[in-house]
């Protein structure tokens, strides 16, 4: 039987099962227990409430209010993006929920239901096994934040953004909101108005972290918006890898996640930022991520999107110093009911800078994946290079994929190339594997894993194993 001819109705039910199997790990919740709740909807009173609870310095309060005005003045970008954005009702979202506790340094002090949440997600175990530090955010605030002792002795700072802006203002403030200005887009403005949680990391000169730092973002409450804000500064010659994971239980109503992540890699520094996004399929995930790479510095975004209803995320690198390097490695899996709208922005702003974008997407069932890219090389520069590759794999006859790159090159001292392809798993390939005793589902899984294998290897080992398993589960039942 040919898998393309499979009745799509049957297939959808099976695909659905596959999602449900996968989601059980993150699909549980505890009763809400909030001391602080900013209520429904967003007004300047909401912003003041958040500022009061967080005891913001005046400059932060002012920053939030300005951002709120920008958010309200900006139109929803449906002139180029999906009209699904119109389905977000900003009045039916709660913008701040917390129990008012400071993040704990030890898991023993974390409230039992929160501890159980993260235990089930495997965070404490991973911390013991291979992480240099962990921050765990539960709704609006971090509930746990800890780092290996020897790192603090070296001067590494790994705290929540609230702590960063108060305790380390002299390092935090010059870069905060500079890589991604408030008005960059509607959702970065929203985040700037109501941000809470996220990490502030500073790696001192020459310090190279051998183990990754990790943040885990958990949404527990219904009709809630999570707006974490992360700023990572890697001083000259330092190196850091940061990983983030996220889950939420599946609710009937829409949940919003809108983060802003700013990276600053000073001369010769290296930052790798790894994301495995597995939100439940009611989450709108509208994230702005951008890195600044100075002379000889490198910023790499390694991004995997499996969950959410709609993800819009285009990690970018501004290569501001000579010989800076930017890279985006991206894997997206869009199942029925999902739209993964991802891509990359590469802004060359110095001579001899190089950037590389490799994006692979898989559309299953009625899923839709979109690649949007921007490469900009201005006129006064020399020796800039960009390579962009995006490949899409379509599994079923109702799967969708789109590619919208935009490349601007001025002057003749540069080289850019862009390639994209769309294909499907060939029947011959499946037949070959079936002949060797695999069933059709296993054969399909193997073929899909082969398609993304070279990118999966870019993830840390512990993640790549997890990733392969997730993709196996997502693919389960997608072929008849």
């Amino acid at each position: 039987m040919s898998f393309q001819d499979t009745d799509s109705a049957v297939l959808d039910a099976e695909t659905k099962d596959a999602i449900d199997v996968d989601r059980t790990k993150g699909d549980f919740k505890f009763p809400e227990n909030h001391k602080f709740d900013a209520g429904w909807g967003l007004t300047s009173a909401t912003v003041d409430y958040i500022s009061d609870v967080k005891d913001d310095p005046d400059w932060v309060r002012e920053f939030r209010h300005k951002a709120l005005a920008v958010f309200e003045s900006k139109k929803t970008p449906t002139n180029w993006a999906t009209t699904d954005l119109d389905n977000i009702d900003f009045d039916k979202i709660r913008y701040y929920l917390s129990d008012g506790q400071k993040p704990k340094r030890s898991w023993d002090e974390v409230p039992p239901e929160v501890l159980e949440t993260f235990e089930r997600l495997g965070i404490p175990q991973q911390e013991r096994a291979f992480l240099a530090g962990v921050e765990a955010q539960y709704d609006s605030e971090a509930t746990y934040s800890n780092m290996k002792e020897e790192l603090s002795k070296q001067g590494v700072i790994f705290v929540t953004s609230a702590e960063g802006l108060k305790e380390h203002e002299e390092i935090f403030r010059p870069y905060f909101g500079k890589v991604i200005p408030t008005g960059d887009n509607k959702y970065s403005a929203l985040n700037s108005a109501v941000f809470s949680g996220g990490s502030f990391i500073y790696i001192p000169k020459g310090v190279k972290l051998k183990q990754p730092l990790q943040a885990y973002f958990r949404i527990n409450s219904e009709s809630f918006g999570q707006f974490e804000r992360t700023l990572i500064i890697a001083d000259e010659g330092s190196e850091v890898m940061y990983m983030e994971g996220c889950t939420a239980p599946k609710f009937e109503t829409a949940t919003l996640h809108s983060a802003v992540v700013e990276l600053v890699a000073l001369k010769g520094a290296k930052i790798q930022y790894v994301t495995v996004q597995n939100w439940s399929s009611n989450v709108f995930n509208l994230v702005t991520k951008r890195g600044l790479a100075m002379e000889d510095a490198e910023v790499r975004w390694i991004d995997c999107n499996i969950g959410s209803r709609l993800t819009m995320k285009y990690p970018g690198v501004i290569m501001k110093g000579e010989r800076a390097r930017g890279e985006v490695i991206s894997i997206a899996l869009a199942n029925t009911g999902q739209h993964q709208d991802t891509g990359a922005k590469m802004i060359h702003a110095a001579n001899n800078t190089t950037s590389n974008v490799v994006s692979k997407s898989i559309s299953v069932g009625e899923g839709r994946s979109t690649y949007r890219g921007q490469v900009h090389i201005p006129k006064h520069l020399k020796g800039c290079k960009n390579n962009t590759e995006c490949d899409a794999l379509l599994i079923n006859s109702s799967s969708r994929t789109d590619t919208y790159p935009a490349i601007t090159v001025k002057g003749n001292q540069h080289a850019t190339q862009h390639e994209a392809s769309v294909s499907q798993v060939s029947e011959e390939m499946l037949f070959y594997m079936q002949q060797r005793g695999l069933n059709q589902g296993q054969a399909m899984s193997l073929a899909v894993n082969g398609f993304i294998n070279d990118l999966v290897r870019e993830f840390p080992m512990e993640y790549s194993v997890e990733l392969k398993r997730l993709i196996d589960l997502e693919m389960e039942g997608s072929v008849g």
Binding site: Q4, D402, P405, A406, I407, T408, V409, V422
Partner: protein, 418 residues
Amino acid sequence: MTSTLPAWFTARQESAKARYESIPTPKRGDEQWRFANIKQLKFEGLSGVVKDTDTSEIIARSTGLQSPAAKFVFLNDEVISTASSLPENVICLPLAEALEKYSELVEAHFMKQETRLGSAKYAALHQASVKNGLFVHVPDGVEVEGSIEIHHWLSGETTVFPHTLIVTGKSSEVRVIEIFRSTDDTTPGLSIAYKDLYAGPNSGLDYIAIQELNEVSRMIAIKETSTDRDARSKSFILNTGASWARNESLSRLEAPGAHSDMLSVSIPDHEQEYDQRTFQHHVSPNTNSDLLYKNTLYGHSKTVFSGLISVDEKAHHTDAYQTCRNLFMSDDCEANSMPGLEINADQVACSHGSTSAQIADEEIFYLQARGIAPDQARQLIARGYSVEAVMRLKNEETEALILKFIDEKFARIATAGS
């Protein structure tokens, strides 16, 4: 225009006028005008003064192929010369005449498609203002030998609206070459052209547009191609002239077996800007399309390429390719590429590629080692680069004509020392 215009036509012109007035002028931020120079859409500056032109001199300057199957010369949309050795059952007439004699046939095909690549307002203006052009209808089974050649001359500070409507019947074949030029080098004019191309079942339709207006004139050219079952349509655009040209080319693959080639060569210099938007629309399964656009940029010139391959839900077994290449010959040029894909079916093979680069020093060195001066070496490589797209036409006579225009442009660039 004479009073014998059919009622349907005057009615369509009137509603087009209302449409033109109601559609807003494109503005910054419109996705279909991304990277475009919106300032070029200010058309008010033209005085409308038309100079007296010696028609016999224009006719003498209208050189093209050695012996075309038919030849028409238009000066500001007025016919000034016609010649035809076409088979009798082939209709090939100025549009104004065709509207009188073949009103129904024209009505069946005239501007049926919605303009969706950004210039709907200017398509409406064209429809409201069109006076003339050419209507070609090739009946079933007739293969026209040679090519139909059309010369459009723009003279004076004025706007012209040349229209081209080509319909091929079952298993027929035809090739049409249009050349757009200005009568002098200094008077700014505007041409808003529209081409309706219908390739009937199993037919072959080749359409070539050569745009060599003077470098103070502007052009908008909108082309709608419809390719039926097992038909082969091929279109080619050469841009060497105009200060600003916008080409919108939409190709619809209507039925299984349809094949569409979309080709273009652009060689801008000085401050010239070419803005090209394409759409490969696969409506039906088992169709294929292949696009190759090659730009060679000199001086302060700028190109924009925005292409989309769109595969409809049921259009399985589509093969669609799209390639745009930019060759940089100066430090001050700018190329913008937006190669896009929208795929709603599986069992498809689609790809797009876009590159921009300059000629490598090694290549120049190689030719220098063989006694060729660096300037000449660059020209030689640039010419060879353009030839790749021209050769896809697979018709020697046509290729030679296009290369003549390309070589003249290179010669102008060389003597100006750009």
